[in-house]
Subunit: 138 residues, 2 copies
């Protein structure tokens, strides 16, 4: 069952759905009881809330944003469970007042599991990359 | 094998080792091939590098820091694999120039697996909580 390509496909599909701002397709990548923590520590529990939160941000802050996957590292911990750590950059996003924001690099850890014949994200957590910083941001 | 208490014990042991600045005990909580991403997106691969990085920060920035676990949410995805999401606050840390820094809240996702009779962290990623912020920090 170990299928590196299947895992990478989920991560790429995440970015493709994001870039089309297609939150139906986005939500389908998650398991029913998936959890998601965004880059500022907001925590959504369950596919329905993950979808609702992203519908809201893609109508505003992320309306014209573009997510680019830079790299994906896949590690299988079981034949049907993989950790996919993805490095990404986000651009085209704006502040709550509509002001353009600079490109932002980040990293996500995605736990992806084979459920009912499909690879689904069961957990995802995001961290901004603060370049040139050793530990806590100053 | 599902043992919520065993999982919580690992998370508490993480904080206890941190607060004693005992990086031998800290490193023993991780699997040999564990990976760790800190709150600014630095990524360490393998127990040896995780240990080395924390020895360096606990000799400097985190020398007198104190990590307090506020809450732990445990979700088993297999009988021997759990996601432990921990909310924490860090205080007593300083800048690279030794200046005291304010208390910092964060959230970590820890993938904990039963390996050779012990619960070990196979992956950990940290995210700062930016309170009062909806999505990207401004």
């Amino acid at each position: 069952m170990k299928n590196r390509e299947g895992i990478e496909r989920v991560v790429h599909a995440f970015a493709e759905a994001w870039n089309r701002h297609d939150m139906e397709a986005f939500a389908k990548l998650f398991a029913e009881d998936a959890e998601f923590v965004n880059n500022v520590g907001l925590w959504w529990k369950g596919r329905a809330l993950i979808k609702q939160a992203h519908i809201a941000t893609h109508a505003t802050l992320f309306k014209h944003s573009r997510l680019t996957i830079e790299d994906i590292a896949v590690r299988f911990i079981k034949s049907d469970v993989a950790i996919a750590r993805a490095s990404w950059t986000l651009d085209g996003h704006v502040s709550p007042f509509g002001a353009p924001l600079p490109e932002r690099p980040g990293i996500s850890v995605n736990l992806i599991m084979h459920i009912d014949g499909e690879w689904k994200i069961v957990d995802s957590q995001n961290t901004d990359i603060a370049e040139g910083v050793l530990a806590p941001p100053q």
